[in-house]
């Protein structure tokens, strides 16, 4: 375990914290509004009101989530942008490459091996994972380490649902995620950009956080291949690369796993990689971001929020940690 010495965890200014009475009243008002809307739109599945289904892939509706912070009010990114501007190096390093090349991925049949320090290891097939817990729609901000952001309505359930079922042992402290690495399906593996398979990891408490999502769909449909079909991770308060795509293995371990990006450039990509406007990437500032499709060509970039705006929900996970050291 790291020594948790407070050496500059950046707390928000008191003046910037919304007083509890104010946000309580605001929530009540929103809840009232939602109740009215639900009354008016009864036959429509909840939380589907923001976007029409793109009609490209099989439907995968998600119900309303009770998790705090699960639905941001930001305007959704267009499906066309979210499904054509991707970092998924297994299909090429250009952001247009995955949409062009990922048709070779076969998302079905699919299995996920859950192994390591758990009482009930096993191999789950996709069908059983889809039925493991009720699907919820989660509208999350997505902040890429490169300085752009999107707002995406994911469909899935908290990863904690799966973790609870496999019962981690007492010494399981980290969870490691592994992406498929099949040369026949993934042309990008021929390049030596990263060591394949792509490995990502979370601390167990991060993985158990209700906002950490095991996503199977987006925009009310199953995930497009280029977005990490058939299942991927979404960790909304971390830079996008933490969210492993097309997962085939989940391993519970005692030691902090070495992630692919740490292995490639440990000074640039830390294990935590929490969105943090005050800790710059060694080669560029993280203070601002460009919201894809919304901020015009000549618009000023918008300020990046601490923990991507999820500080109320996840800030306590890092209490006392030096976020400059554990970047």
């Amino acid at each position: 375990m790291h020594t948790r010495v407070d050496r500059g965890h950046i707390h928000p200014k008191a003046s910037e914290i919304t007083p509890q009475a104010v946000y309580a009243a605001r929530r009540q008002w929103i809840q009232g509004l939602a109740a009215t809307a639900a009354g008016l739109l009864l036959p429509v599945p909840q939380a589907m009101a923001q976007s029409a289904r793109p009609g490209k892939l099989a439907a995968l509706p998600g119900g309303r989530s009770a998790v705090a912070g699960a639905v941001t009010m930001d305007k959704l990114t267009a499906y066309a942008d979210a499904s054509t501007y991707n970092n998924f190096y297994e299909f090429g390093t250009d952001k247009a490459d995955p949409a062009r090349n990922a048709h070779t991925l076969k998302p079905r049949p699919w299995t996920v091996a859950v192994e390591g320090l758990v009482k009930r290891p096993g191999t789950f097939d996709l069908e059983s994972l889809l039925k493991l817990a009720p699907m919820e729609e989660r509208i999350y901000r997505l902040r890429c380490v490169e300085g752009w952001s999107m707002v995406i309505p994911w469909v899935g359930y908290s990863l904690a649902e799966l973790i609870k079922r496999v019962e981690p042992l007492g010494n399981a402290r980290f969870v490691q995620f592994e992406t498929l690495a099949d040369r026949a399906q993934m042309p990008g593996l021929r390049s030596g950009v990263l060591d394949w398979p792509y490995v990502e990891g979370l601390r167990l408490d991060e993985a158990m956080h209700p906002l950490t999502l095991l996503a199977f769909g987006m925009y009310g449909e199953v995930l497009p291949n280029q977005n990490g079909a058939p299942l991927r991770l979404v960790v909304p308060w971390k830079y996008g690369f933490k969210a492993a795509k097309s997962i085939v293995r989940i391993r519970f371990v005692e030691k902090q796993p070495k992630t692919s990006w740490e292995a490639a450039a440990s000074s640039e990509y830390g294990f935590y990689s929490n969105v943090n406007p005050q800790v710059d990437h060694p080669r560029w500032s993280q203070a601002t971001e460009r919201r894809i499709g919304e901020d015009g060509l000549f618009a000023k970039k918008r300020p990046t929020l601490m923990f991507n705006g999820y500080e109320p929900q996840v800030g306590q996970l890092y209490a006392g940690m030096d976020l400059r050291k554990f970047f």
Binding site: Y85, K95, S191, A265, E268, W284, I292, L297, K300
Partner: protein
């Protein structure tokens, strides 16, 4: 093709305007794309990358003139070199403008901070600044004023520009460990500069 025919065409009236229009095409495509909204999800990034790509390509074309001329005998190619060099500077300037405007919103303090943080931007900016005196002395009178020998010595700075541009691109891509394109440009520039060395020291060379 016969050397004489090519030289005749290059010396003809159509050659320069045609090459000029061709060199403008990338810019036209980008402007049309930006207005039509067809530059993808992140048009600012597309503009920044494309103008950078075209600067490098123009630079390679400029540097290719002399070797091509020497290898083929198409000496009239020389007529195009100045224009291609100026297009290199032009696309480089656009590339810098995209960075300053689209990425930094002309915020000078932010730009200086960014340059300090990202040495590859400093390297790119140096390459552009180094092109400035070359562009400024590209007209005939400057050659006469400086004298051909001094003018030529000054314009050898383009070799440094090429190496800086390459380093800029390499450094930018190193974050992603992706050197496929960088190595293509490095190979092209390596051949073009290597040719000059070979030509100079080849057996029987007079220069």
């Amino acid at each position: 093709m016969r050397t004489g025919l090519v030289n005749a065409w290059l010396q003809g009236r159509a050659a320069k305007p045609l090459v000029f229009l061709a060199a403008l095409l990338p810019l036209v495509t980008l402007v049309v794309g930006a207005t039509a909204g067809s530059l993808g999800a992140n048009p600012a990034e597309t503009l920044m990358r494309s103008t950078g790509d075209w600067t490098l390509r123009m630079l390679c074309l400029t540097l290719a003139i002399t070797p091509l001329r020497q290898a083929s005998g198409w000496h009239a190619l020389l007529r195009l070199r100045r224009m291609l060099g100026l297009f290199t500077f032009f696309y480089g300037l656009l590339h810098f403008l995209c960075f300053a405007w689209l990425d930094m919103g002309f915020d000078l303090a932010a730009m200086l901070k960014d340059i300090a943080k990202r040495p590859f931007i400093l390297v790119g900016t140096s390459a552009l600044l180094l092109m400035l005196p070359l562009a400024a002395t590209s007209f005939n009178r400057a050659i006469r004023t400086l004298g051909a020998a001094r003018w030529q010595r000054l314009h050898r700075a383009v070799y440094a520009v090429a190496l800086l541009a390459l380093l800029h691109f390499f450094w930018m891509r190193s974050g992603k460990n992706d050197f496929a394109e960088v190595s293509i440009y490095a190979a092209v520039i390596g051949v073009l500069l290597g040719w000059r060395l070979w030509w100079r020291f080849r057996p029987g060379s007079t220069a």
